[in-house]
Symmetry: C2
Subunit: 314 residues, 2 copies
Amino acid sequence: MRAATIRDKEILIEQHPDPQAGVGEVLVRVHAAGLNGADMMQRRGLYPAPPGSPQDIPGMELAGEVAALGPGAERFALGERVMAIVGGGAQAELCLVHERQLMPVPERLDWPAAGGLPEVYATAHDALFTQGELRPGEQLLVHGGAGGVGTAAIQLAHAAGARVTATVRNEQLRGQVGELGATVIAPEGFAEHGPFDVILELVGAPNMSENLQALATGGRIAVIGVSAGAKAELNLLALMGKRARIHGSTLRARPLEEKALVARLVEHEVLPLFDAGVLSVPVAETFALDDAAAAYDRFAAGGKLGKIVLMIGG
Amino acid sequence: MRAATIRDKEILIEQHPDPQAGVGEVLVRVHAAGLNGADMMQRRGLYPAPPGSPQDIPGMELAGEVAALGPGAERFALGERVMAIVGGGAQAELCLVHERQLMPVPERLDWPAAGGLPEVYATAHDALFTQGELRPGEQLLVHGGAGGVGTAAIQLAHAAGARVTATVRNEQLRGQVGELGATVIAPEGFAEHGPFDVILELVGAPNMSENLQALATGGRIAVIGVSAGAKAELNLLALMGKRARIHGSTLRARPLEEKALVARLVEHEVLPLFDAGVLSVPVAETFALDDAAAAYDRFAAGGKLGKIVLMIGG
């Protein structure tokens, strides 16, 4: 099979042996695979794939068809449309996924949307509801509302009855982000728009002091991105005074059983909202597998609304 | 009534008008009132009492007898032994407490123990189980194991089947703290003894970087004391990598309904363990109300095991 391959911090397309499905595994013929911030870090050598995942083939999410079933795999049939988060290896013609991590693709979704759904929706759902315990009527602030996780979080929180504010640096994207269900503001002076019950931090350390100011009593900050820096100052007295909590999380490093639980939650609480037409996956641009390097450059350039997705195979 | 009174950062004993019980309130004739770190901060003008509490009479916990009942107060009878956390005003001959904040005093406990129980046990229970969600078999680290909250936390966690490690700076107290149910270590290099599922931070900012190193995947840090400093550095990537969370909390600023919930939890989950003889309130020293200033100096000097308690009235 052909696959995007990391060699000396470059993305090449190389030939790899076809993987074989083991017990409980499904071989997926990949049609679409979204790019994520973690791929950019992995290309730079900063975020190796977890053990058990291909180390040199990037890609943390995919959508495709079931091409083969390993012994005992029975949740899906040959040819069925499936999607998943994986530890790595998604940006390839074929990818092995444990069947407990797979989800069905909602009928309404085309391949680009399905290939860009799993990572951002699972991440946003986990951060908002599992960690942040966001409740109807609460005030949410999303830092970085135009990105993949940001657009997913805005739509999920809006659908759940929360009142959503989002910061977007690029002025030209603010209108489109607002249409997803948020009041969109510039990042400067965001605390004036609070207090917020939950803050989704996709940008990083520079926001943390103001986040604590902007937080309501009993508020929660979920940190899932640090593109702008990781070293934050934390005033513990302010944290105590707000009776606040700060969560840090990643999906990638979790063991199979935890990832499977996340997949079940997304199936149960998110996919029905796609069937109902309430949620969407904004796709900024698609690239053919052969143009993977250009796709990475486009992602790294920023300033886009929604996902960059690699189209693979048919 | 006579009461400890804060005047220009000094503790004096002054005469105040007797308070009158309003709707749902109980007038308590105070027998014992424990000192806490917050009293030291309030004396220095750094931690004013919340609105609705006496501003110049310190004291956040008490035990005593029901002296009068306001309209509608019916949970306790005249003369019954009661104890409570209050927003302020406990270090006085009389103190008003809403009946929903009052708890019965377990029969086995004398006045000094009862007067030193509510704040530290409610704080430790809330931090360990409500915030930290400590589970049987987990590893707990208590920073500052010889203090009031520390000795309560060690005993509660030990009784709940957790494995407890405690840091104690004063070498001479380590043996006694160990007898409460902890492996006692020096503060230096504590991370070597981890990983810990829950860390109870009673000391403050200087520990925070090493706390994050010492934390297990999925671990929780509960910050409830910052005597050694409030400004911490926080590495957000490390927080994400550990999938950790940091809680800050105080009991004092909470509204009545939340304090009442805490009192119900302590009644239900903690007081039965006093009846069973499993828990104790180590009392380092008692002082008469007239010697309140000396009691404060003794507390501030540190190096003690357990509580400093003011004995008031008969």
